[in-house]
């Protein structure tokens, strides 16, 4: 006991003495990975998968903390305002690039208030429908929606979520003004879908692949250019002729702006290690998602991605006219 006390005092003294050299010993305490969406949702799943592998690489626990609400912007804001010491990082997705348009009063700037760590993974989306819908083909789907436009509903996980983005894109491309029903997170939405209360939802494969495989919901289309091995019976957007329905939910890791470059480099190294970890790859495969290519696992690639994606989505969101004031 005394020995340990002595060691603690000694370590404390060394930390004080080291002062500015603290970065060299980074990380020396657990790191918080903020996931800005509901627990059990697709982003949480990705977060828990990579945080474990990153912990092994860093020698410190990377703990997932859920800070949900407002399409992920509350969690992002929390990280933007956190101390730039590398102990608070953010896992977020394409929402980082759509929320600046959806939420005109955003308290942070996605491009200047963060230090990027790297892109993580690309996740495709799937349009799914409740089990008892009498729909077998794409034409039947469009016909069903067109003839029942006053009754058809599409669930999404809240404004700013990927599922909301997908619903907007779908409405715009098909010209069908379907009533959307906002839920708090995908898990809640899936419950109402399985209880036959809402008709459709467009969500990431991370949360739909298992449900499609079990037959709990029907899969109609994937937003990736190639079919997914895990749900090979579901056609791509090109095959059904819905051009432009390509939606890639890319995930990235951020730290607050001002985080020392050597800390960012260390976090990037841990991220890269996680993205080659066999266990991570196995879990990713279950959800039909894959790590981004090597050249995208860099801070620069993530910065460029956000910049280009903001401009990519702005016209579509403005046309849909769904803003949050």
């Amino acid at each position: 006991m005394m020995k340990r006390l002595f060691a603690a005092v000694a370590v404390a003294g060394m930390v004080i003495a080291a002062g500015g050299a603290a970065a060299q010993t980074y990380p020396n305490r657990p790191i918080t990975m903020v996931v800005p969406f509901r627990a059990g949702g697709p982003t949480d799943t990705i977060g828990r998968t990579i945080s474990e592998a990153m912990s092994r690489n860093l020698g410190q626990q990377v703990q997932v903390q859920i800070v949900d609400g407002a399409g992920g912007t509350l969690g992002a804001q929390r990280v933007a305002e956190a101390a730039p010491d590398g102990y608070t990082i953010l896992l977020y997705h394409v929402g980082m690039a759509t929320t600046p348009t959806l939420y005109p009063n955003l308290a942070y700037d996605p491009l200047t208030d963060f230090a990027e760590i790297g892109l993580v993974t690309n996740v495709a989306m799937t349009l799914v429908g409740r089990q008892r819908l009498p729909i077998a083909t794409w034409d039947q789907l469009i016909q069903y929606m067109t003839t029942r436009l006053d009754r058809v509903t599409m669930a999404h996980a809240g404004i700013g979520s990927a599922s909301h983005l997908c619903a907007m894109l779908f409405s715009q491309l098909t010209g069908l003004d379907i009533t959307t029903v906002p839920f708090v997170g995908t898990a809640e939405a899936m419950l109402d879908l399985q209880a036959d209360f809402v008709d459709f939802m467009c969500d990431q494969t991370t949360s739909t692949v298992a449900a499609i495989q079990n037959g709990q919901v029907n899969g109609y289309v994937v937003t990736s250019p190639v079919r997914l091995e895990q749900i090979a019976e579901v056609p791509t957007f090109q095959e059904v002729g819905l051009d432009g329905f390509e939606l890639n939910v890319w995930h990235g890791l951020w730290a607050p702006a001002g985080t020392p470059p050597e800390v960012i480099a260390r976090l990037n190294e841990a991220l890269r290690a996680a993205l080659t970890d066999p266990q991570v790859l196995r879990t990713f495969a279950l959800f039909a998602t894959f790590p981004v290519p090597l050249e995208d696992q860099t801070p620069e690639a993530l910065h460029a991605k956000v910049a280009s994606e903001i401009e990519h989505w702005r016209p579509m969101i403005e046309a849909a006219g769904e803003f949050v004031r």
């Binding site: 627990a39 859920i66 509350l74 029903v181 906002p182 809640e188 419950l191 109402d192 399985q194 209880a195």
Partner: protein, 504 residues
């Protein structure tokens, strides 16, 4: 059946890890230590200790919190028996006979009876939870937004029933809770509501800890300050803990009856554990061969209610974990803690967090063992705790509460919120407005609002959606009947009063 055994086995593998046992133990010890303090009931104990359980893995956090809960209940029975100061309503029943036993020099036997009764009830009720939860959860899979809305309305109506005071006051407190729960960011559009520019209020659950600790912890401490400084305590010495053979013979049937009663009533919304201990007491009084002893320290009057209370405490986890409906104030606390830990209670918990679910169930049983081991030999230590003067205790608890709130949010805003809620809580207590219905309203505000809006959005604004769907119609019907039954005596009394005044 094999499934359940397998699941419980997995649960024990999780709850049985060194870390989790350690946290369960820590929770039980802390719960007993605070719970034994006179005038500090289980709700206050859980509220004060809740921040300590946060920050680790959700399963571990909840296991510790559950430990605090059981510990607080045991602690509450101890102070009820020894100094006739029950921390909450359910131990008030224990105090009736327990304190009399203590006065007759049988404090040890009374404490042991309470511990044994609780342990047996806890063990049996744990099995009940394991058996009942999965079917209930799978039934809830067919529930959609209208059913959840109806279920929550029912839960809130039953919350009026559990309040001891006037139904109208309870109703007002529920509405106030719902209103406080409106503060923050609205889920449908993302707009801020009533945040008055404070970013800290954006999160709809942000006020949970300050509210709980203020209303249940601080307010109770303030109220205790009103009482006389000295306490007449039966602190002579508690010896001869082991009950006699005759005692054992007399306690078996009451414990089993109490367990059955408690397990059943615990599941029903409306604070089953309290109801169960009252019901058990009157049943034992009626059935006992030693009727003359009732009022003078009848052991059945300790064994039955304690078993009922503990069984109810255990099974009240079932609706919270499987439906996301807290049947009692303590479960509203637990539900809040789960949400703060990033887990949304509801039918998907069993499926998506089997480790958490079954681990928690297994830990209930482990916690019961720990408490028996902890309590019987250490009773003399708890007795010493009862002698700590209030002038030392109050500042310590206040400081502890502030640190607790700050440690979770790292934000002074929440400490100020705690101070405000503490004062409000005290004022409400003086006004005889109970905070428990308010807490239920606060916890359910966000889900009830979302389910209402979603139902109406799907039905294009037609409220018939709640009546056309059979399950939600039945649930709302029960809620309506319950509301009438609750309010009837109140209305009748009011009329009587009016007539009396007319006569005068």
């Amino acid at each position: 059946m094999m499934d359940i055994l397998g699941n419980i086995g997995d649960g024990f593998a999780i709850a049985g890890t060194l870390t989790n046992i350690l946290y369960a133990f820590l929770g039980c010890v802390l719960g007993t230590v605070i719970g034994v303090l006179p005038g500090v009931g289980p709700m206050a104990t859980i509220a004060i200790l809740m921040p300590m359980t946060m920050g680790s893995d959700p399963t571990t956090s909840l296991i510790m919190l559950a430990g605090v809960y059981y510990g607080a209940q045991y602690g509450g029975s101890t102070s009820a028996i020894l100094i006739n100061m029950p921390g909450e309503v359910s131990s008030a029943v224990t105090a009736i006979e327990g304190y009399q036993m203590a006065r007759r020099g049988r404090a040890g036997a009374a404490l042991a009876t309470a511990a044994i009764g609780s342990f047996i009830a806890g063990t049996l009720a744990t099995i009940a939870v394991a058996v009942l939860s999965p079917p209930l959860a799978s039934m809830a899979r067919s529930f959609a937004s209208p059913e959840y809305f109806a279920l929550m309305v029912l839960g809130l109506v039953m919350a009026i029933a559990l309040a001891n005071g006037a139904p109208l006051k309870a109703l007002a407190m529920i509405v106030l809770g719902l209103l406080i729960g409106m503060i923050g960011q609205e889920d449908q559009t993302g707009r801020m509501r009533f945040t008055m520019g404070f970013n800290e209020l954006a999160d709809r659950t942000a006020l949970f800890l300050p509210l709980v600790i203020g209303f249940f912890g601080l307010a109770e401490i303030y109220r205790n300050l009103e009482g006389p400084a000295g306490r007449e305590a039966l602190l002579r010495k508690v010896s001869n803990i082991w009950p006699s053979r005759e005692d054992f013979r007399r306690m078996v049937a009451p414990i089993l009856r109490g367990t059955g009663l408690g397990s059943l009533l615990g599941i029903i919304p409306g604070n089953g554990p309290v109801l169960a201990s009252f019901a058990s007491y009157s049943i034992e009084k009626r059935l006992s061969k030693h009727k003359h002893e009732f009022g003078n320290g009848a052991i059945e009057g300790v064994a039955g209610p304690e078993a009922a209370n503990n069984a109810g405490a255990q099974t009240s986890f079932v609706p919270m974990l499987t439906l996301g409906i807290p049947p009692s104030p303590v479960m509203a606390l637990m539900m809040g803690a789960m949400i703060l830990n990033g887990i949304l209670p509801g039918p998907r918990v069993i499926e998506e967090n089997p480790g958490l679910f079954w681990g928690l169930i297994a830990s209930m049983w482990i916690g019961n063992i720990i408490l028996v081991i902890l309590n019987l030999p250490l009773i003399s230590l708890w007795v010493k705790l009862l002698t700590i003067p209030y002038r030392v205790l109050v500042p310590a608890i206040l400081t502890f509460s502030c640190i607790g709130v700050y440690s979770v949010s790292s934000n002074a805003f929440h400490v100020f919120a705690l101070a405000v809620f503490g004062l409000f809580g005290y004022a409400f207590m003086r006004l005889k407005c109970e905070p428990a219905p308010l807490l239920l309203g606060y916890v359910l505000a966000q889900p009830i609002e979302n389910n209402l809006i979603r139902s109406l959005r799907v039905s294009r604004g037609d409220p018939m959606v709640f009546i056309e769907r059979p399950i939600s119609a039945v649930l709302l019907g029960i809620a309506l009947v319950a509301l009438i039954v609750i309010l009837l005596p109140f209305i009748a009394r009011k009329r009587e009063k009016v007539f009396v005044e007319d006569d005068a």
